[in-house]
Amino acid sequence: MSYKTKTKDEIAARIAQDIPSGAYVNLGIGMPVMVANHIRVESEVCLHSENGILGMGPTPAKGQEDYDLINAGKQPVSLLAGGSYFHHADSFAMMRAGHLDICVLGAFQVSVQGDLANWHTGAVGDIPAVGGAMDLAIGAKQTWVMMDLLTKTGQSKIVSHCTYPLTGLGCVKRVYTDHATFECGENGLWVVDVVEGLSFTELTELIGVPVHQRN
């Protein structure tokens, strides 16, 4: 049977669906930022930005940008009513101490034990840069990953053990991909949903390491 994988925008919409009203959420640089487009304003989800913003709002209209008000990706943003500013140590205290409900991060690899690798390919000559990835990964009450299931060459990014340098150990709670959604639970990853037309058997063949399904 044939199937169609989700677009990045569809994965973002799927993630937004699981974010409860009133949650404090950090969206990582890159793909995860797209989740913001699918969060309903009336849900009062409060977005955190590592550089010292709670209540971050959308990109301002052209001509309204203020380069003292930027997000972690260094792009101009706005502040919603009720928003606040704070310094970096407070911002990372919010992460480290579990004050944030959810963070959504991109990933190079996620292991079936919930280990995350997303900061460095480890390639010789690559300049490493970590930013807030390690603090976010281990700090939020729940760390969710948003990624394509396969690399461009068709390798599964869900692995038995990460071969890239680790960001955090056993920190991932859910994995949202273009093929399926997974929950980290007892004995590894459990499939939550799969795109229409893709069977569980076909999915496990793509991944190449055992994952579980509930009856």
């Binding site: 550089n51 309204q64 203020d66 380069y67 008000l69 930027i70 260094k74 500013y85 140590a89 955090g168």
Partner: protein
Amino acid sequence: MVGGFGTAGIPYELIEGLIQILEDRDVRDLTIINNNAGNGEHGLAALLRTQRVKKIICSYPRQADSHIFDALYKAGKLKLELVPQGNLAERIRAAGAGIGAFFTPTGYGTELAKNLDGSPKETRQINGRMHVLEYPIHADFALIKAYKADRWGNLVYRKSARNFGPIMAMAAKCTVASVFEIVDLGALDPESIITPGIFVNKVVLVREPDHQMA
């Protein structure tokens, strides 16, 4: 220590002043602490280009236009201590708060829980969770950008340009803050002062730019 994150809070005028001061001095062993490692041609990038810096402590050196850092690093002319951003902030905060060291869960089990010589940092299990011992980062000078000051050095900041300013101000022996306006004592709302003047040694008045320009 140099404040700033992205386009916000970089004390460009103070960095330019530092570069000028260094012109007739034989200083080649500065350590710079900043979240990044300079980008484009100005600010920290310009300071790095003078080759007065031997080491940089930061969380995110690689950027689209960090070519001056990239070249010096690859040529072995600049040492890098890469620190997770929250550990960087907390190590700076700890220095300013008189803390000897602290245990943090961030980085446990990763390559960044190692010392520069590759030896593992001290770890400890606390309440069932593994932590890494991290030491404070002190500095001789902090160059930061605030919004307004008074004669006592009390500071308020502007939007997300606050970023590292308040914690760096506390962590250095001498803190220099650039501001756009110096107001009379009592003109800043005491409830709104973010950095009390006790943490600030010098205030430098600079021209306020158009904040809508990157």
